[in-house]
Amino acid sequence: MGRYNAFNVFWQGLTGNKGWERAWRDPDPKVKYEVIIIGGGGHGLATAYYLAKNHGIRRVAVLEKGWIGGGNSGRNTTIVRSNYMMPGNNEFYEHSLKLWENMSHELNYNVMFSQRAHVSLVFSPGHRDAGARRYNLMRTNGIDGEYWDLKRLKKEIPYLNYSDDARFRIEGAFVQPRAGTARHDAVNWGYARGADQLGVDIIQNCEVLDFVHREGRIAGVVTNRGEISADKIGLAVAGSTSTLAPKAGLGKLPIETHKLQAFVSEPIKPLINHVIVYGYGHGHYYISQSDKGGLVFGGDLDMYNSYAQKGNLPIYQDVMGCTMNILPMAGRIKVLRQWAGIMDMSMDGSPFITRTDVPGLYLNAGWCYGGFKAIPGSGWCFAHTIAKDEPHEANRRLTLDRYKRGFHIDETGGGPVPKHH
């Protein structure tokens, strides 16, 4: 049973669900592929899908060290938005958001993209002005965005802390109505299934140990399941880019690996109907509620380089404080799980989708904590870059050499210190 739809769910239900097939095959690696994508996260899987779908390149393998979607694309807070203002990000993330809007249909897999609006709280006149610049730029570039004054905000979200007791008074919010949340695992599985149906080999438990170079080009990889050749290799292993890139011949990169924690609460009946975020008063915070009922939320980076996918207490405390700051009713709600992901923090907080100095090697990296929403756009642009050997219009600014030129895509103005982004 290949096609997913209501009728087949009904029919399979009647017949004991025996007819459902594997969502993707479990092939052994072949000796040679046209393109190898290293990294079976959302970015790698989407890239493989679009290589096959948009460019007809079907001799593609996705090599995943563990299980697909096991990195950040399966451990994020599932927010999808395109409220970026800097040239480079602005066009890229909107391209991605547009792909999100039809993704379930495209993949025949319900990724549950819920355009429930992203509400970014405003706490002071200066804060508002900074936000106005961002949301105005979104509007003048064809991206939706609006301002909710206090009256409107109170009507839409009555339970925020508007009281005199608040340390900083909420004054309003900038809102992107088309933004929202999605089901992260479904995105990974949907792209895997879609790519698989187009002939892509998704190979799990296949760790890349080294690279093969021939005549100045990249020629293949050495894995724990043998050597595999390829004409072109795309690296999509954000979080671990720095451990693989030198082996591929890329040398040092403008990346530090940091960890970011996330939290989910016990399931409760619908309480929060938007994505609510703020960055103010040395607080950085975002929260939404999953369809299952858990509050899904997070805050700042741990602020030190780390490859440990483990949480710690100080950020746990800080994020709960940030919760109570705007949601004082949340005190009695309990946290069910705390976890962490490791991410490529780039020097300006923005990613890279680019060719490299090594012929045949392409790089997709530097996603900081914003990679999930980028998955379709990243896959689309990376596939384009690999297939055509030149960037797509939406990723032409996301190059690795931009710092050398002095072109920073710095949304926060934090400068070349990764933890400031």
Binding site: Y135, L313, Y403, G406, G415
Partner: protein, 999 residues
């Protein structure tokens, strides 16, 4: 009705009645009861409803692993959702409500979902609900509304939490987690060696298996006597004994997170915090966290009345409650025999089904003697009953299938499928447990670098003697580790049973369709596990995510191992080949409030006031947030609004004089023989030749050539400089300078000290500023000759507290003739009063941030709004300031090609073209006729200028003044539905040659 209170027995205090309500009905329990035991005593069986199918859920455990008996407590702002009935103590006045059901958990309309179960298989929602139009998300979002309403468990309050919480920092040598025999032994051994010990117990009583009859005696002593002696010994040895305290997470370097439930069990808690977060830094940790029994699955194994065998035993022994009149204990191992005997001895008719053909001789004899009917090679096949269980179909167990044989009456079925050591906490450290076939359990064999020792049944020592021994050894190991006495060999776990456990995960009768639940909260069945396998979601993580197995509030404490075993079977692999179990913090759910502690309301972040706060308040000042600071915003007169007050203040300053509090500026003393050279390197403009007694404006760049901060630096002597920074960057600049001196240029003889809080300061500005200051300082002359622009003087000021020391710089941010006067913070109020009197005498004003901002915009002076971390000095029109003769931080990278392009946006002034027209900061600037794209730049600041008599602003425009001066462009603010024609002018709107401040 099934359960009832036994006439005697249990640890509840039958002399202390406790009144509580269950869904509005009043009940009485005893002190020492949990909600589960108290309701069981009243024959209440259905306490909850499951997540997806809304099937009835009863009490199935007696501990934190409870997946089904989840209830809501209280109502209104005090409501708590998803409370485990099995661990929540009843307290006078407690309100307990069923949840996730309507109208009640007994009769729940949504139970129709159960009939739809065949369509609601694992992951079905990924395959449907996205609509038939093939576009967009609208259709899904309609389904989503329905799904969201059905999902979730309890309903949380939407009113502020009325309770408060606190955070405590603790230190100890050894933290022992768990107070069963192993934990007590470990704690006593460590304490006896003189170590500082904390013993943490999540229960409201110490003792673990000593409380429920699983460990009836230790050596020659009865459980209670041994427990009492141990606690007394620990108390005498100075150990801290904390009950109701859950160690919810282990973190780096022996740091543990603990939550103490302080008041939930108190009827009148007074001022105590509801819960307390304890952050314990332990040098060594002993995990004696015990083991939880695990069930095996059979048809309708989720029905109320089906519970763990040890739970049934606990209700009888600890709470004096019989879970039913007719009991079946079904097991695949020896341990359930003692549960069966406990039930039989309490007068419950008990049958024992053992899946094994060979029975444990001695235990079987004792069971028979207690009147228990034992059937070997028999398993339960399906539980029957309208809601709770009334009868049980059982059958013969064979290796590949089970055949139903007969039915017997049963009100309670106690299941034992083996024991799962609690390895959650060590798992938080990333250490993976390893499958032990003989014990049929995941065990941690090596704790790696962690300062952690496992003990008791958590380490696989399931017999009381072995647990005790391993506890003592764990205590010795902790002592050895901390006293540098090498390592202690920990005993290896051995199989304690007479007959081996027979692995059993699922009872199957090929002739019957059985609904067997692996995760009864999330309604994950054994069929769901097989479906996941069929569809390729084989990895343990995929299985969990696809089926939601183990994602419920109990985090799969019982079900995960079964799911893993079933997946192994479906894949034709062994359990270790299939995967292992992992756990993440917290061990049990922890309230958001307790982790936030007192970081809420006004205390969420620090509040900073200048030393002149009280003076401002006396004068009716309105404050505004600026970072953590409260800064003076404006001083309204007679109900003036912000705009009018700021306009009056700014006008008065320009016409007369005013004073503003500038204490929030960052202030750093830079001292030493190399101080001058140091400043010369960190500022982009020349500093080497700054004369003593002079100040200079300086622009500091980051390494990448972008402007970092600006401020003035005053040379007080050859080797002493007083640097001011922007308010926002005070900490950042200090860090930057410290970094340079300690890591990059350690050879420089310079010392820096943050003195931001040591000095209070005001600026006195306006044409009459000299009149105000003249005579204020007996030893400072304020004439142009004696005190020229950018001059710095030190002296004294006459105040109502006598002569106070002051440091004065002739600087101007407003563009007026102005002096900044600094005094040690304690004297600041006196200085303020003295100067305020003088200002009032000449008709001047106090002015706030709003008026100051207006005046600096009129002057084209930049602030953080212009300096946003993306601009170069040249962008700000200050390119000419940078020295060409010296090398400084940021110079090299500031010359990168994209930073020196001549089409970069540069600072300009903007004036609204039409009278009274207004434009806003954050507007995007476009050439006339264009409204799309990134435009020419943006508006950074605006002000309603009393001097220009129009709204003016600063902004960045591509091409800058050179291209646009005098031309009209559009300021577009779509989010305000506003566009405004503005004329581009020089940013120096007012007094461009600076005659007013110089003269």
């Amino acid at each position: 009705m099934s359960g009832y209170r036994l006439d005697r027995g249990g640890r509840v205090d039958r002399t202390k009645s406790v009144n509580f309500t269950w869904d509005g009905t009043r009940h009485i329990g005893y002190r020492g009861d949990t909600i589960a035991s108290a309701l069981m005593a009243h024959g209440v069986r259905t306490l909850g409803r499951s997540f997806k199918y809304h099937r009835p859920r009863g009490v199935s455990t007696a501990g934190v692993e409870e997946p089904g008996a989840l209830v809501s407590l209280y109502s209104g702002e005090k409501r708590i959702t998803n409370a485990r009935a099995t661990t929540t103590e009843i307290v006078e006045g407690l309100e307990v409500h069923g949840q996730n059901a309507w109208p009640s958990v007994r009769f729940d309309i949504s139970a129709v979902n159960n009939l739809m179960g065949r369509f609601f298989s694992a992951g079905f929602y990924y395959k449907t609900f996205f609509g038939i139009t093939g576009r967009g998300t609208w259709e899904w979002m309609q389904f989503e509304k329905i799904i969201r309403r059905a999902a979730g468990m309890g309903r949380a309050t939407d009113r502020p939490d009325p309770d408060h919480y606190e955070t405590v920092h603790d230190y100890c040598d050894v933290l022992v987690v768990g107070s069963g025999p192993a934990g007590l032994a470990a704690a006593e051994t460590a304490a006896a060696a003189g170590l500082d010990v904390i013993l943490a117990e999540q229960d409201f009583e110490f003792g673990g298996t000593l409380l429920n009859g699983i460990t009836p005696s230790v050596g020659d002593l009865g459980a209670q006597q041994w427990l009492t002696e141990r606690l007394s010994a620990l108390g005498s040895a100075g150990a801290r004994l904390w009950k109701r305290t859950t160690v919810f997470g282990l973190y780096d370097h022996g740091v543990a997170g603990l939550v103490e439930r302080v008041t939930d069990h108190m009827a009148n808690p007074g001022h105590l915090p509801r819960e307390r977060l304890r952050i314990v830094r332990a040098r060594h940790i002993v995990l004696a966290t015990g083991a939880v029994e695990r069930p095996f699955t059979f048809g309708n194994n989720d029905k109320p009345g089906v519970m763990l065998a040890s739970a049934a035993q606990t209700y009888v022994n600890r709470f004096g409650v019989a879970p039913g009149r007719e009991a079946v204990i079904a097991t695949n191992n020896d341990t359930a025999y003692s549960a069966a005997i406990t039930l039989a001895e309490a007068g419950i008719r008990t049958t024992l089904l053992d899946s094994r053909s060979t029975l444990p001789g001695e235990a079987a004899e004792r069971a028979k003697a207690a009147g228990i009917a034992i059937r070997n090679a028999m398993v339960p096949v399906q539980a029957n009953g309208p809601r709770g269980i009334a009868s049980l179909d059982y059958g013969r167990h064979q290796t590949d299938r089970d055949l139903s044989e007969d039915r017997m009456p049963a009100e309670v079925v106690g299941i034992s499928g083996g024991w799962t050591p609690v390895v959650s906490l060590i798992s938080h450290r990333g250490i993976r447990p390893v499958w032990n076939d003989a014990l049929s359990a995941f065990l941690v064999e090596d704790t790696g670098l962690e300062p952690v020792t496992m003990a008791g049944s958590a380490a696989g020592h399931f017999s009381a003697d072995a647990a005790l021994n391993s506890g003592e050894k764990a205590g010795e190991a902790a002592v050895a580790a901390l006293k540098g006495q090498g390592t202690v060999a920990m005993p290896a776990p051995t199989v304690p049973w007479d007959e081996p456990l027979e692995p059993l995960w699922e009872v199957r009768d090929p002739g019957r369709k059985l609904k067997c639940f692996v995760d009864p909260q999330n309604d994950v069945t054994t069929s769901d596990v097989r479906l996941a396998h069929r569809e390729g979601y084989v990895s343990v993580e995929h299985l969990k995510r696809y089926t939601t197995l183990g994602m419920s509030t109990d985090q799969g404490k019982m079900g995960n191992v079964i799911g893993l075993a079933l997946m192994a079977e479906a894949s034709g692999q062994t359990i270790p080949e299939t995967g292992t179990t992992t756990f993440r913090p917290p061990y049990t759910p922890v309230s958001i409030g307790v982790l936030a502690g007192d970081a809420r309301g006004k205390h969420w972040r620090p509040t900073r006031h200048t030393p002149m706060r009280a003076e401002h308040e006396k004068l009716g000042c309105v404050f505004v947030d600026a970072g953590f600071w409260y800064r003076s915003w404006y001083y309204p007169r007679g109900g003036e609004a912000l705009g009018a007050a700021a306009m009056r203040e700014a006008t008065t300053v320009r016409d007369n004089v005013g004073m503003v509090d500038v204490s929030t500026l960052g202030k750093i003393m830079v001292q030493g023989p190399d101080a001058s050279e140091f400043l010369n390197r960190v500022y982009s403009n020349a500093f080497a030749k700054l004369a003593v007694g002079k100040a200079r404006y300086g622009l500091m760049l980051r390494d990448d050539g972008i402007v970092f901060d600006d401020g003035t630096t005053w040379r007080l002597s050859e080797t002493d400089f007083f640097m001011t920074t922007t308010t926002a960057n005070a900490g950042g600049v200090m860090l930057h300078l410290a970094n340079l001196l300690q890591t990059r240029w350690p050879e420089m003889k310079v010392h820096i000290t943050s003195v931001s809080d040591h000095w209070g300061g005001v600026a006195v500005a306006g044409p009459k500023a000299r009149d105000v200051l003249d005579g204020a300082c007996p030893d400072i002359e304020f004439t142009d000759q004696a005190f020229p622009f950018m001059g710095v003087r030190q002296g004294h000021m006459t105040t109502d507290e006598g002569n106070i020391p002051v440091m004065v710089g002739r600087l101007s941010f407003s563009g007026e003739k102005a002096w900044e006067v600094m005094t040690p913070a304690d004297y600041a109020p006196a200085m303020f009063r003295s100067l305020h009197q003088r200002i009032a005498a000449v008709g001047g004003v106090l002015y706030g941030l709003e008026a100051m901002d207006c005046m600096r915009v009129e002057k084209g002076h930049v602030t953080g709004r212009e300096l946003d971390g993306r601009t170069t000095a040249a962008d700000m029109g200050l390119g000419g300031m940078a020295s060409r003769k010296k090398h400084y931080i940021g110079r090299v990278l500031g010359e990168r090609e994209d930073l020196v392009r001549d089409d970069r946006a540069t600072l300009v002034g903007l004036i609204a073209k039409a009278p009274n027209a207004r434009f806003k900061a954050g507007s995007i600037l476009f050439p006339m006729g264009e409204t799309e794209g990134h435009g020419l730049g943006h508006v950074t600041s605006v002000a309603d200028s009393p001097q220009v008599k129009s709204w003016i602003g600063l902004g960045y425009v591509q091409g800058g003044l050179a291209q646009w001066e005098g031309k009209t462009i559009m300021a577009e603010s779509p989010v305000d539905v506003q566009s405004c024609e503005v004329t581009v002018v020089s940013p120096h709107f007012f007094d461009p040659d600076g005659g007013r401040m110089h003269g």
